[in-house]
């Protein structure tokens, strides 16, 4: 099973690497991160802070765009081009196929994220001659968030069109980053609205858990328990999303 999973993962990774959109996005992200050097230079004594904030936000934005545009197309393209017949008529379970597609895109996001992170570190080092440890953790958390949203986009794409899937995933991103606001609103709302908003708060992932950008600004290296909790939250949520996605995909006919 491991050989089959790896074959699908690697094939998905190679397939996404052929997508010109990926190169445009990574290239543009690298330029934007490099441009943070200019943004930093016009700020008054806040160069490092601006560079860190600007670069990490750009990194997150571009990785999410990759997720929205490539992640939502993964299964759809297989069905549209009929390449899914090539795989699913072979001794490959639906679970293995789905997981392979997920891991393949995660690998692409990892590579894209690492390229952006390297640029971020170069820019930060060029300006401040030091890179706080927290910066590495923050960049890692950005990649984790993109991976989680990859699981979200794959789940939506297993039962809806790529466009709808991208819109829904974007919606989950917005709600996920506004979890605190959703909670505050729920506490001030009427009982019915309160129940709905509390449901939204608990069902949707709290993506702010992956936001370590402020820690970098204040040079606060996350503790081992904080990192452990983030990893546990990511793993639990992602496994739940993958199980849900597989349950939908198992019933699909081609």
């Amino acid at each position: 099973m491991r050989k089959v999973l790896w074959a699908i993962t690697l094939n998905t990774f190679r397939e996404t690497l052929r997508d010109k959109l990926l190169y445009s996005l990574v290239g543009f992200a690298v330029l934007v991160i490099a441009a943070s050097l200019l943004a930093g230079s016009v700020s008054l004594g806040q160069d490092a802070r601006v560079i860190q904030d600007f670069s990490l936000t750009a990194m997150l934005a571009f990785l999410l765009i990759i997720t929205y545009f490539i992640g939502t197309q993964l299964v759809f393209k297989e069905v549209e081009r009929k390449t899914i017949y090539l795989v699913l008529s072979k001794p490959v379970s639906r679970e293995t196929f789905y997981l392979g597609k997920f891991l393949g895109l995660c690998l692409t996001i990892l590579v894209a994220g690492l390229i952006m992170a390297v640029m971020f570190v170069i820019v930060l080092f060029a300006k401040t001659h030091s890179v706080p440890t927290a910066a590495y953790f923050a960049a890692g958390a950005v990649i984790l968030e993109a991976w989680l949203l990859t699981a979200v986009s794959l789940l939506f794409s297993s039962f809806t069109s790529p466009l709808s899937s991208a819109i829904y995933t974007f919606g989950v991103t917005l709600i996920g980053h506004g979890s605190a606001t959703v909670w505050l609103l729920s506490q001030k709302a009427s009982p019915v609205i309160r129940t709905i908003l509390e449901g939204v708060y608990y069902i949707f992932p709290n993506l702010e858990k992956f936001n370590l950008r402020n820690d970098v600004v204040f040079n606060l290296t996350p503790s081992a328990s904080q990192v452990g909790l983030i990893l546990l939250y990511f793993a639990t949520y992602t496994v739940f999303l993958l199980i849900l996605g597989v349950a939908v995909f198992r019933k699909d006919e081609f």
């Binding site: 074959a7 190679r14 690497l17 008529s89 006919e253």
Partner: protein, 240 residues
């Protein structure tokens, strides 16, 4: 080798139930070449997809070598070539074969040798390192035929293998299928090109609106009806 019993498949379109395969039963014996023929929309491709495990039966059972269709055990026994086969554009012909060999968990050294033999047999030896996006339709068909045999399948399932090929391509393809037949392969294939079916098959079933309306060896069908297979096909469809 392949046993289909009371197979029924329905699809839903605008809340309307459409029966595409209707209580179909057939048996393909080991070493037999079985042709499923019928006009467009008769349910041939749906039947083939059900056997390959790409669709789920509504009712009835499909057994491949004793295993239910769609299970990993059944899929290990089959080689499948779908209608108008497509491949990943980023791969070369050799890489497509290697990818499929990995899906069957075939050892690399064994796979490499097998890939060379198969690509030579289907006439793609020189196109081995060519990206499949540059392939013509005929080359796609040939590659799909090679891919379907990578695991030495006990049952080869071919959906319209001769469709869309030029006369030379069809002749080549027929010869390849006949060669496999001579070697004792079990083949289940769908087609609407009657002359090819007559030439290749040991047994045929005429499918119309999801039901088998005539079945037997082409020779017997022609003999008993005193008509050509084409005439019998047309009459059976019109009378059904």
């Amino acid at each position: 080798m392949l046993v289909i019993r009371n197979l029924t498949k329905q699809f839903y379109q605008r809340n309307e139930e459409i029966t595409v395969v209707d209580n179909l039963s057939l048996t393909v014996k080991k070493g037999q070449v079985f042709g499923l023929i019928g006009p467009n929309g008769a349910g041939k491709t749906t039947t083939v997809k059900l056997v390959a495990g790409l669709l789920f039966p509504g009712k009835g059972k499909i057994s491949i070598g004793g295993f239910p269709a769609g299970t990993l055990e059944a899929k290990r026994k089959i080689g499948f070539m779908n209608e108008n086969p497509q491949f990943y554009y980023h791969l070369k012909a050799r890489e497509v074969m290697e990818f499929v060999a990995d899906l069957f968990e075939i050892e690399k050294t064994v796979a490499t040798k097998k890939i060379d033999v198969l690509l030579k047999e289907v006439g793609l030896k020189d196109a081995k390192e060519l990206a499949v996006r540059k392939f013509s339709k005929g080359m796609h068909q040939r590659l799909a035929f090679a891919v379907a045999q990578i695991n030495n399948p006990e049952l080869l399932i071919l959906d319209e293998p001769l469709d869309g090929l030029d006369p030379l391509g069809r002749l080549d393809f027929k010869q390849m299928i006949l060669k496999l037949k001579k070697s004792g392969a079990t083949i289940f294939f769908s087609s609407h090109i009657l002359s090819d079916v007559e030439e290749i098959c040991d047994e045929v079933a005429i499918l119309h609106k999801g039901k088998i309306i005539a079945q037997g060896s082409p020779k017997d069908l022609v003999k008993s009806s005193k008509q050509s297979l084409e005439e019998l096909f047309v009459r059976s469809i019109r009378n059904a």
